[in-house]
Symmetry: C2
C-alpha cells in the first residue's frame, strides 16, 4: 500500500511546526483551541514528536473527552511516560474513558509497576472487567473484543430503545448495531439504528429484530473472526461465551488491524522469518536476529545437503567444468518457478479462493502452466545457448532438457507443499519459497547431472 | 488468514444439501421461506452451486428486496446467466436496487450485449450515473465509491434530519454518517446519527456538524484512500471533485477489499509475477503463464550473467572441484538473508511503519542484524566444516569468510534496493526477493572465488 503523498506529508509537517512554535512561545490558549479542533490521530502524531516535559504539558491541555482518545492513539513509551507523570485523579479519568480493549492492550504491554498504578486508579468495575478480558487466550476472539455495546430487551418499543441509546450511547464503541438479550444475557437478536429509524415509535423490538445473528465464540481464533467480517461484509460482530451469553463485540477497525497483522505474518513466514509483533523500527537488533537466524540455519543445513549431492558429481565437472556455469541459472529458475506457484496457492488459501478439496484442479492447472512456461523458456534458452556456445550442442541440449523438467517439477512442488502443510495442520506460509527453493535445488541438480551422464557420458 | 473450520464447512454443506432437496422435490413454498431468512451471502453461495435452469427458478423465488443483494454477491458468470434469462421488468428492478458501485462493476466486466440490455433497462437517471462512474480512472478513489449517501443541509434541525433519513434512508449504503452540503453540493461538514441522537430535536445541524472533514478527491489513488481509512479508523470517507463538490462515498467494506487486493498484489510481485486481478481458480492457464513468464525470463537472463561470471573462475574449480559443492549453500544463504531484509522493508513501507527518511536508521539496523547473523552462522559453519572436511582447513576458512561477508552485503542490498525503488518512484515490491537473489548470487560468487584465489592460490 502506498504512503501518504509528499504534499500531505509536507502539510502535516508545516502544521506540526506551527503547533510547536505555539508551545515554545507558551501561547497555550491558542494551542488549546487548535488542538481541540484536530483529529485525535493527528494530535497523537504531534505529541509523539515532543520531548518528555512538553509531552505532559501539551497532554494536560487537551479537553477531557479528547484526552483519552489521544491517549489510546499514542505509542507505548509515551503512554508510560504520561501515566507516570499525571495525578491519580487524571489517571482515573483516562482509564474510565478508554474502551476496555484499549485498556487491556495497555495493561498487557506496560511494565508491572505502571500496571499496578493503572489498576489501583481504575474503579472496581473497570478493574474487574479488565481482569476478565485479560483471561482470553492470545489470538482469540475474546482478546480483540470490547465491552462497550448497546444491549436492548425485546419487550422494548422503538421509542424505549431510542431513549436508552440517548442515555447510554455516549461511551459506546458503536451504537448503530444493538444487541437484544434476555435477562441471562443470552443473545436473542440484533437490531440496527437504521431498523429503528425506519419503524414507527410503538413497534416492539421483538418484531423488527433479526434473529439470525452471525456471531463468534470468545475462544474462536481471531482469523476466523476476520473471515466472518470479510464473508458477510460486517461492521461489528457479537462475541458470546459457551452458554451463548453476549460478552462483547468486535468492531471493524480491530478486525482490519488483525487482517493487516496476519498478512504481515504471512509475508514474514514466506521470507523465512518467525513473525514478530513489533513494527520494524521498534524492534531491537538482537530480537530481529533471533527471528531470522533459526530459519537461516535450517536452510543453510539443507543447502549443505544439496552441496553433498553435488559432491557425488564431482567427477563430472572435473571433466567438464563448463557444466558448473549453468548451475546458478538452473537453480534460480527452478526456485523462482516454485515460489511463483507456492505464493499463488498460499495467498489463495489465505483469502479463501482455494480450498483443500481443489487440490486436483490446482495440480492440473499448475502442470499445464508449468509446461507452458517450460516450453517458452527452454526454447529461448536453446536459441541463446547454441548461438553463444557454438560446437557444444550436446551440452546445450542437456541444459535445456534439464531446465524443462525442473520448471514443471518446481511448479508441482510449489503447489503440493503448501497444500500438504494445510492438510496436516501446519501453516502453509511456513512451507513457502525458501524451503521449496532448497527442495527444487536438489531436484534440478540431480536431473541436470543425470542428463549430463546420459547425454555427455561424464 | 485461516479458512473456515471443518465444522462450519460441514454445516454449510448440510444446509445447502437440504435446500437442494427442496428444489428437487419442488417444495417451493418451504424453500422460499428458508431462503428469505438466510443471509444474502449464504443464498448466493447456494445459488452458485445450482445448475443453470435451477439457478433462475431459485433466483425468481427470492423476495424482491433480497434478490438484488443476492445478485450483487454472485459471480460474474451467474450474473450474466440470470440477466439473460429474466424479463426486462425483473431486470429493471434489480438494477435500480443495486448500489451504483456494484452496477458499475457489473457493467465493466459483462460482455457488451449483456451490458447493452442492462443499460436499456435502467432508468435514465441510473444510466447516466453509471456512465458518470465509468469515467473514473482505474484504481482511483472515484472507481471504488458509491453514490448512495445521505446529504443534509446545515439549516435543517435534528428533527428535519431524522425525517429526511426516515424517508430517504432505505436504499443508502450507510445512513450513519450524513454529509452536509450547500446548494452547489460543496461539502461543508459531516454529522453522525450518533450526534443527531445525542442532541435535542430543535438543534441546527450547523451547530453540531464537524467541519474538519477527512476526504478524498475522485482522482486520488485508491491506496491513499485505504491509508486514510487505516490512519483515522474510518467507516466511510466522502469523495469530492476538484471543486470540492461531494460526488460519492467510499465505505469500509470496499476499502477492506482494496486492502486485500493490494496485499495480494504485493505477494505476487515479490514472487516475481505481474499481478493478476482474478482469483486463482478463475484464471486461465495461458493468462497465468503470461503473468509468470516475463519475470522468469528476465531472471533467467540475469542468472546467465552469474553463470558467465562463474565461467571466469573455471580454472579454479578445475583445480579444486570441491569448491563447487559449497556454491548452493553460499548462494541460498545469501538469497535468504537478502529477502528477509527486503520483505521487512517492503512490508514496513506498505503499512507505513517505515518512511524514506528512515533510510540511515534502517541501514544501520540491518548492518548490525547482518553482523549478528553472520557471526552465528559462520561460527556454526566453521565447526561443521572442519569436522566433516578434515585436513582442508584453508578451504573451510575460505567458505566461512565468504559466507560472513555475503550475509552482511545481502542484508544491505535487501534494504537498499526497495528503498531506492520507492525513492525513484518504482514499486518497491517489484525489487523484491528474486531480483535481490540474482544480485546477491553475483556478489557472493565473486567474494567466494576471490577469497579462494587469495587463500588457496587457485
Amino acid at each position: 500500500m502506498a504512503e501518504l503523498s509528499p504534499n500531505e506529508i509536507q502539510e502535516e509537517e508545516a502544521r506540526n511546526e506551527a503547533l510547536l512554535q505555539l508551545v515554545n512561545e507558551r501561547q497555550f490558549r491558542t494551542l488549546r483551541q487548535e488542538l481541540s479542533e484536530m483529529n485525535e490521530v493527528d494530535v497523537a502524531a504531534f505529541i509523539e514528536e515532543l520531548d518528555p516535559e512538553k509531552t505532559v504539558v501539551v497532554f494536560r491541555m487537551l479537553p477531557k473527552e479528547l484526552a483519552s482518545d489521544v491517549f489510546a492513539c499514542l505509542e507505548l513509551d509515551k503512554q508510560q511516560h504520561i501515566v507516570s507523570s499525571i495525578t491519580d485523579k487524571e489517571l482515573t479519568n483516562i482509564i474510565e474513558d478508554l474502551s476496555v480493549d484499549d485498556a487491556v492492550d495497555m495493561v498487557e504491554e506496560l511494565p508491572a509497576n505502571i500496571v499496578k498504578r493503572v489498576l489501583q486508579n481504575a474503579t472496581p468495575e473497570t478493574r474487574s472487567q479488565i481482569n476478565e478480558f485479560l483471561k482470553y487466550p492470545e489470538n482469540s476472539a475474546g482478546s480483540i473484543m470490547t465491552a462497550e455495546y448497546i444491549g436492548l430487551r425485546k419487550t422494548m418499543t422503538v421509542e424505549d430503545a431510542f431513549t436508552y441509546i440517548r442515555k447510554h450511547g455516549v461511551d459506546k464503541e458503536t451504537i448503530y448495531t444493538c444487541y437484544v438479550m434476555d435477562n441471562k444475557r443470552t443473545l436473542e437478536g440484533v437490531v440496527t439504528v437504521k431498523d429503528l429509524l425506519m419503524n414507527p415509535y410503538e413497534t416492539l423490538i421483538e418484531d423488527i429484530m433479526d434473529t439470525h445473528v452471525i456471531k463468534a465464540q470468545t475462544t474462536d481464533d481471531r482469523e476466523d473472526v476476520v473471515e466472518l467480517f470479510n464473508k458477510y461484509d460486517l461492521t461489528t460482530l457479537p462475541v458470546v461465551d459457551k452458554e451463548d451469553r453476549l460478552v462483547g463485540i468486535v468492531t471493524i477497525d480491530d478486525a482490519v488491524d488483525v487482517m493487516e497483522e496476519e498478512a504481515t505474518e504471512d509475508f514474514e513466514k514466506m521470507a523465512a522469518m518467525t513473525p514478530s509483533e513489533k513494527p520494524y523500527l521498534k524492534t531491537g537488533v538482537f530480537e530481529m536476529a533471533r527471528h531470522r537466524i533459526p530459519w537461516l540455519m535450517f536452510l543453510m543445513i539443507s543447502a549443505m545437503l544439496t552441496g553433498a549431492l553435488l559432491a557425488r558429481y564431482e567427477a563430472a565437472f572435473e571433466v567438464m567444468p563448463i557444466l558448473v556455469t549453468f548451475i546458478p541459472m538452473l537453480m534460480d529458475t527452478g526456485g523462482n518457478c516454485g515460489s511463483q506457484a507456492s505464493t499463488m496457492i498460499i495467498r489463495g488459501m489465505a483469502v479463501g479462493d482455494i480450498e483443500l478439496s481443489d487440490v486436483l484442479k490446482v495440480l492440473w492447472k499448475e502442470f499445464r502452466v508449468g509446461i507452458t512456461c517450460a516450453v517458452v523458456l527452454a526454447a529461448i534458452n536453446l536459441i541463446r545457448l547454441t548461438i553463444f556456445n557454438p560446437g557444444q550442442f550436446m551440452v546445450c541440449l542437456t541444459v535445456v532438457i534439464s531446465m524443462f523438467f525442473t520448471i514443471i517439477i518446481a511448479k508441482m512442488i510449489g503447489c503440493l507443499l503448501p497444500m500438504t502443510a494445510q492438510r496436516i495442520g501446519i501453516d502453509p506460509a511456513i512451507m513457502a519459497s525458501p524451503l521449496i527453493t532448497t527442495l527444487v535445488d536438489a531436484v534440478s541438480l540431480t536431473i541436470y547431472f543425470e542428463m549430463a551422464r546420459h547425454f555427455l557420458g561424464v
